[in-house]
Structures are given as C-alpha cells and as structure tokens.
C-alpha cells in the first residue's frame, strides 16, 4: 500500500516534470532508462538465484508456459475488439491494431504511425504505455482478485523487463520465468500482428 502510493506519486511527479520541461534530455531520451532496466534485471536475477527451490519448480512447467502468451494475445484482441463496439470514433481494425501492441509502446506507436497515420500512432503510444503503468501500479490488486498470473498477462510484452520486478514481488519468484517467456514471445509477435491487421 505504501509502495503503491509512492509509485503513483513518482509517476505523477514524472508527468509534471516532463511536461514543464524540467528534466535534462539524457533522462528522457538517453540511455538512462536502459541502464536502470539492466540494473533491475540483475537484481531480479539475484533474487531468483538466491531461491533454488523456485528454479526447480519452474523446470516442471514445460509447454504450459507457452500457452500464456497465446491466451494473452487472444485476450488483448477480444478486449480491444469489444471496445470498438462501444466507441464510435474508432473502427474495429484500428482498435485491434492498438490492442496488438501488447504493451510494447515504442515499437507499436512507430509502426502504427507509419501504417495508419499519426493520430492512431499516438493512441497506440498512450494506450500501450498505460498498460505498462497499470501493471506496475496495480499488480498487487490484480494478484488479489485474479491470481498470480494476472500481472504477467496485463504486462504483456513488458512482463520481461519493466513489469518483471513487480511480478517477482507480488506474484512470486515462481512466475519470473513464465513472465520472461511471455514477454519474449509477445515482443516478437506484436509487430507481426500489427502489420497483419493494418496491411
């Protein structure tokens, strides 16, 4: 709870600081975020290595792990397709393309801008960033109501990097490998799906 408040506060503070233009360029566009991710991956690995039992459990999972990204893709497409029925401003094809971003906002916004235009590109950027932010901020709530796999599913392609530390924390170390496999598969599939839907 306390962490959740601090995280929300940091996110809002970040939006304000970015909006006002307080921050030096290297924080926003430079490699700073990448180095931070590297550090986080190292820490997640250390915590996993400390817990040998978890590593043993993970090896028992085998092919079921691959069903996770398949279900995530189906769920994202059904979910965003359903939204197009409610919203008049966006067509089925467009909302499916945004949903196919699977949280991979940098790639999906660039690709969608090229294939469909700037407006839908910005929608994809915002929608997929929000998916990542929702996962990081709401992970404990998702776990409580939908089980340990929920943050892996909601994180989509980001379950292998940005969302991974919160997955480890709230779902448990057992889900780290599931999350990495899920993230890898979705990162590869997302551009392909967008291209198939829009071309």
């Amino acid at each position: 709870m306390k962490n959740g408040l601090i995280m929300t506060g940091m996110f809002v503070a970040g939006i304000c600081a970015g909006w006002v233009g307080l921050l030096p360029n290297w924080i926003i566009n430079g490699n700073f975020k990448l180095y931070l991710l590297f550090a986080l991956m190292l820490f997640v690995g250390i915590q996993l290595g400390c817990d040998i039992d978890v590593l043993r459990k993970v090896l028992r999972l085998n092919f079921i792990v691959l069903l996770v990204p398949v279900c995530v893709i189906i769920g994202s497409l059904l979910g965003s397709g359903f939204i197009s029925l409610i919203l008049n401003e966006i067509s089925l094809k467009e909302s499916l393309a945004v949903g196919s971003g699977l949280g991979f906002y940098s790639m999906s916004s660039i690709l969608i801008t090229q294939l469909s235009g700037e407006k839908l590109g910005i929608v994809a950027l915002l929608a997929n960033s929000l998916r990542e932010v929702m996962t990081v901020l709401l992970a404990p709530i998702f776990v409580r109501y939908f089980g340990n796999l929920a943050p892996v599913a909601s994180g989509g392609a980001t379950s292998m990097d940005v969302s991974l530390p919160v997955i480890q924390k709230y779902s448990g170390g057992d889900y780290v490998i599931v999350a990495i496999v899920n993230g890898l598969v979705l990162t590869l599939v997302a551009p392909l799906l967008i291209w198939l839907i829009l071309s």
Partner: protein, 91 residues
C-alpha cells in the same frame, strides 16, 4: 533484448553464489524498490514530455484509456483458466 537477458542470467549466477548472505538479499530487495520508483518517474516523464501526446490528450485520451483497460482485462481474463493449472503444476 539479448543484453537484458544476459544481465538477468548474470544475476541468477550471483544469486546462487551469494545465496547464504541474508544481508545482501535484503539490500537487493531495497534497491529494487527504489529502482522501480525511479523507473516510474521516468515513465511519467516520457509521457509528460511528449508534446504531441499532451496536446492531443483531450481528443484521444479517453479512447486510449478505454482501449488500454479493454486489452489489459481481456488478457487477464483469458489467462485466468491457466493460472490454476500452473499453480497445481508447481506444487
């Protein structure tokens, strides 16, 4: 993407080597929390500093929020049946 996985595997090896040091484990937990806070700040800053996104927010904001909710909850619900299978397998 490959380098991210390399850092992850180096971490696992370090973790196995130092697994008996409770102190290191606790410090790593703490640093991870702080790193997540910084990461969220940067995520916010990336969104806030995107001028075209902020300018168009009134026209596309609602669509994007609803689409994000739809795709996210769609994924969570679609994987829900798998979660009990995975839990059983790990017992």
């Amino acid at each position: 993407m490959v380098s991210i996985l390399i850092y992850f595997f180096v971490g696992i090896i370090l973790g196995i080597l130092f697994r008996s040091h409770v102190f290191i484990n606790r410090v790593v937990h703490r640093i991870t929390d702080i790193a997540i806070f910084i990461l969220l700040f940067i995520l916010g800053a990336t969104i806030g500093s995107n001028k075209s996104l902020i300018q168009n927010f009134s026209s596309i904001g609602f669509e994007a929020v609803i689409l994000a909710i739809g795709a996210t909850f769609g994924s969570i619900l679609a994987t829900y049946p798998l979660s009990s299978i995975i839990q059983r397998k790990q017992k």
